[in-house]
Point group: C2
Chain length 238, copies 2
């Protein structure tokens, strides 16, 4: 096909389209597309088309993989080293009024000795009464509340806990295996805490009340926010 | 001493004191004190005095102990469980532009598996180039800066580090034994970070530059903020 034929094709698809009808834009697009096809064909560029098609396919596949990696709930690899905490996914794991996000996690980021969470409790919400055989440090970022801690929990059951008022810019730690509960007892403000635990992922023993025997406490492992990634995590020889 | 003598003493110290001079208040106080002593003696209350004296002595001793405990640099016991971070002592340990405080420490608070620091770097200040055989997680609370990280530090020397921009509300972790340095490269604002380490207290290996062999890195243990309390800490069987 000669240049003059291409030009006439262009005129045919372009000039003859009605400019004044409601469908004029659609038709213009059709004309232009057909003209392009004509141009490609007339230049005998089938090889080039093939080449472009393969490139496009590869590009699509790459984008899809990147998307899958970024949206994976268990991205132990492929994450940037420095992460914006505001962009880390959060969830309530079925507990109304809770927001949990794993800042630096065992199953998500490959930590072996420490794990850091950011948790927010809306007014009136609380953790279960529980214990775990790891150290736990809290830094209160916002709000206030009450820590219930059964320090003498080495009897048969936790017993009446001590109450500790916690407040913004305060810190406290829960000794290994002491039964405790965190409660946002401030009825107006969210309670936000940064939680640091050792020996991740956490293995938790939950109590229905403070007089439940330790032996009856219900083990939960993997914990709710570790469930999805626990099965997917690579086994570690250490 | 008879009552008449006491009475005369009282008169001497009280009535005869010049009311119009500048020292009248002081003299009045002296008179009153002496009168009190005389009254107590004349009532033959030696036993009562003894009892009061012993109580006073015990009270003084108790206050002194409490004062010593509160002002001790290594108060592993006697601290409240919930502590106001604003009231935790901070120091620069001889490094201009640094503020370090131990939020939850091994030697200060008896942690065995994790330790938490709050550190602030004024513009242009930095940590030494260093490594340690523990996990380390950072949460950037304020400001921005640069993390220099020699990820391929398993050769003979760290080599040229990668540069990572860090910013408020970001998080990152430093793998065990990777050589790194944190630098407040923001010339206007303080860089404040919450630092979480495992295996406290930290044993640090410092480098003069990125081409110093790992074998030449200088060990510093106990580290500056642990020095004072290291010798005083109780030995742990674990």
């Amino acid at each position: 096909m000669s240049f003059s034929r291409i030009a006439s094709t262009f005129r045919r698809y372009g000039k003859n389209s009605p400019q004044t009808t409601a469908n004029s834009r659609k038709r213009k697009w059709c004309s232009w597309s057909l003209w392009c096809v004509d141009v490609v064909i007339t230049r005998n560029c089938w090889k080039m088309v093939e080449c472009y098609a393969i490139s496009l396919l590869l590009l699509c596949l790459f984008s899809f993989s990147a998307l899958v990696l970024a949206s994976s709930p268990c991205p132990i690899t492929g994450l940037p080293l420095v992460r914006n905490i505001s962009e880390i996914p959060q969830d309530n794991y079925g507990r109304a009024g809770l927001s949990h996000l794993t800042v630096a996690g065992s199953l998500l980021h490959g930590m072996k000795e420490v794990e850091v969470w950011l948790q927010t409790f809306s007014p009136g919400t609380y953790t279960p009464i529980h214990r775990h055989s790891c150290e736990e440090v809290f830094v209160v970022l916002k709000g206030s509340g009450t820590l219930y801690l059964a320090t003498a929990s080495h009897g048969k059951y936790p017993g009446k806990p001590q109450e500790h008022f916690i407040f913004a810019n305060s810190t406290f730690h829960v000794p290994v295996n002491d039964v405790h509960q965190l409660w946002n007892t401030n009825e107006y403000e969210d309670l936000q805490v940064l939680v640091i635990i050792s020996r991740p992922p956490v293995k938790l023993f939950a109590y229905e009340d403070w007089s439940m025997p330790h032996t009856a406490a219900k083990m939960k492992f993997p914990y709710y926010w570790d469930e999805q990634c626990y099965e997917e995590s690579p086994k570690d020889e250490l």
